[in-house]
Amino acid sequence: MELFIVQLILGLQQGMTLLLVASGLTLIFGTLGVINLAHGVMFTVGAYSAAVTVTETGNFWLGVLAAVVVAAIYGLLLEFGIIRWLYNRDHLDQVLATFGVLLATNQGIEMLVRNWDQGDGGGQNQTQFLTYDAPISGSPSVLPDVANYRFFIVAVGVGVMGFLWFLINRTRVGMWIRAGAEDREMASALGINLGLLFPIVFTIGAILAGLAGAIQGPIDNAVPGIGDRYLIECFVVIVLGGIGSVKGAVIASLLVGVVKTLAGTYLDEVLELFLEPAAAGRAGAAFGSISIFLLMAIVLAIKPEGFFGRAHA
């Protein structure tokens, strides 16, 4: 039972990180109508910005700030330089261009980190795996077996989501976002400046993903392409929750986080009854991931538009 509670909390925490990435992505899908494979890149950018800043200054909070600022600037640049030319293109063009952004950015980060002086003069053989710690003390412990830092991530997630809810439902920009998601042409005809709205939405998404990368970094470390792992799970979340629905993303993220963690833990134990430990461990880890894709297939077979989606256009 104790194991169950610990795993449940770990699952919720992973779901929370996922939600930070997925909520921005679903807003971008819903409002801009662009499929953005480069969204995971923002997570990676955030993680590396934080890692470099924390290493240079020793201050975690400065690292988080740097991640948010760099992600925001990079998001704005991408929107102006590339994304805005894709609004009226077909999905394949959007996939290809953002895939290009993904390749170039991931490799670009590697090139930058390689040339960054990590205290040994820089050079070719430097590691791409950057680690850094967060100053969240382990005592007093909220729950044994769960690092307090996990609760910190959950708290940040809840706070950010609260802010996002306020932004979307209680402000003028939020009204534009809701109108844009409902019907782009009609919103434009009613005088909403899409040329202003779209960069705002894209940048909000970039900031959320960058923030997620920065606060998840102490757990996952800054690793090449780390954000892309989250990107694919985000796709599952968005399809499950319904494209464009932040509410759906909240429920689906937490569900995916919990299902993945629990399936990974318990299938491992079940499999050990049949297989030798090494094989069971490998199979168990894979089943954690498999479970969420199966979950998605089952939900889609019953409800193709997801929990809160409108019928797919």
């Binding site: 030319w85 394949l92 261009a97 490799q107 694919i232 494209i243």
Partner: protein
């Protein structure tokens, strides 16, 4: 239409002469690249059929390559025993290649039934998710009680020596030609027209009394089977089968190659594979950062060029 067939004929004539050219300039090392171009072109032709003609942007085609490869690889590894205790293993390509196509096709049909309930962005993400499912499924396998990556014995075939680079290359080229000609003819049939019509306007197809979902699922399954053949051929080209065959970067690069070669042309598959793998070979040998330049090039291609190679060559021709 004649121009289309002439371009197809010229392309295959050039591919048939390519090994001679390589032996003339004494660069037989590139036979590997040439063979990979042909094998990948088979998968791309199938993708172009469902994407270019059918409007199904599948981000999961690598899954079928992996399935085809795993069917052949697992059968070969268990050639002196049996697979899962009841399927006799074999290294005989005449048995395992068709089996690879059948298994891929059946799984393709299942994936199609679920994925085709959605359209557009959702379809793309769901096919990607199924490919990830396959990736993690293969990762969970224990082959020979060891890891999920396994070295397999070479496949064999009567009369043709699959270990011989030239034999294998020309066999693959013939299969590619069959796939290209077959698909090019298929798009003109009533079946092909329904698939094309569903891309243009689903509602209108229904108003005309068709229920294109069935043909779309069939088209998707057919493409999966052909892609499975490409996977089966891969087994003779690499000593390992590994989960990365189903990885999403591969599925992504397939889409890139189809776009580069020209969508809705079928033969563009060959141009796309040749151009992409050629460029990759050229860049990768010069800089470790080739992905950076490929990424920039891709963005530039989408923003400025917009038309693939075969689209330019075939401008003004029709499929009829």
């Amino acid at each position: 239409m004649t121009r289309r067939w002439s371009i197809i004929a010229i392309a295959f004539a050039l591919m048939a002469l390519a090994p001679l050219f390589l032996s003339m300039i004494d660069q037989m090392f590139y036979m590997n690249v040439l063979t990979r171009v042909v094998i990948i072109a088979i998968a791309l032709a199938a993708l172009d059929f469902i994407l270019g003609y059918g409007g199904m942007v599948s981000f999961g085609q690598a899954m079928f390559v992996a399935i085809g490869a795993y069917v052949c690889g697992l059968l070969a590894i268990n050639s002196d025993a049996s697979l899962f205790g009841f399927i006799p293993g074999t290294t005989q390509a005449l048995i395992s290649w068709p089996l690879a196509m059948i298994v891929s096709g059946l799984i393709g049909a299942l994936v199609g039934v679920v994925a085709l309930r959605t359209r557009g962005i959702a379809f793309l993400m769901i096919t990607l998710a199924f490919a990830q499912l396959a990736f993690f499924g293969f990762s969970a396998l224990s082959i020979d009680g060891k890891g999920n990556q396994a070295r397999h014995p070479r496949l064999e075939m009567p009369l043709i020596d699959l270990r011989n680079d030239h034999h294998f290359y020309y066999l693959a080229l013939v299969l590619l030609a069959a796939v290209v000609v077959g698909l090019q003819l298929l798009v003109r049939t009533p079946f092909g027209r329904i698939v094309r019509g569903a891309k243009l306007n689903q509602t209108r197809m229904e108003a005309l009394g068709h229920r294109p979902l069935r043909q779309q699922v069939q088209a998707f399954a057919l493409a999966a089977a052909i892609t499975g053949l490409a996977g089966a051929l891969t087994v003779s080209e690499t000593p390992f089968i590994e989960p990365e065959l189903a990885g999403w970067p591969t599925s992504g690069s397939f889409l890139v190659m189809v776009a580069l070669g020209g969508q809705q042309t079928i033969i563009g598959a060959l141009f796309g594979a040749a151009a992409f793998l050629g460029l990759e070979e050229a860049f990768a040998s010069r800089t470790a950062d080739w992905r950076f330049y490929v990424g920039i090039g891709l963005i530039a291609f989408v923003l400025f060029a917009r038309r693939g190679i075969a689209t330019i060559l075939l401008a003004g021709t029709s499929d009829e």
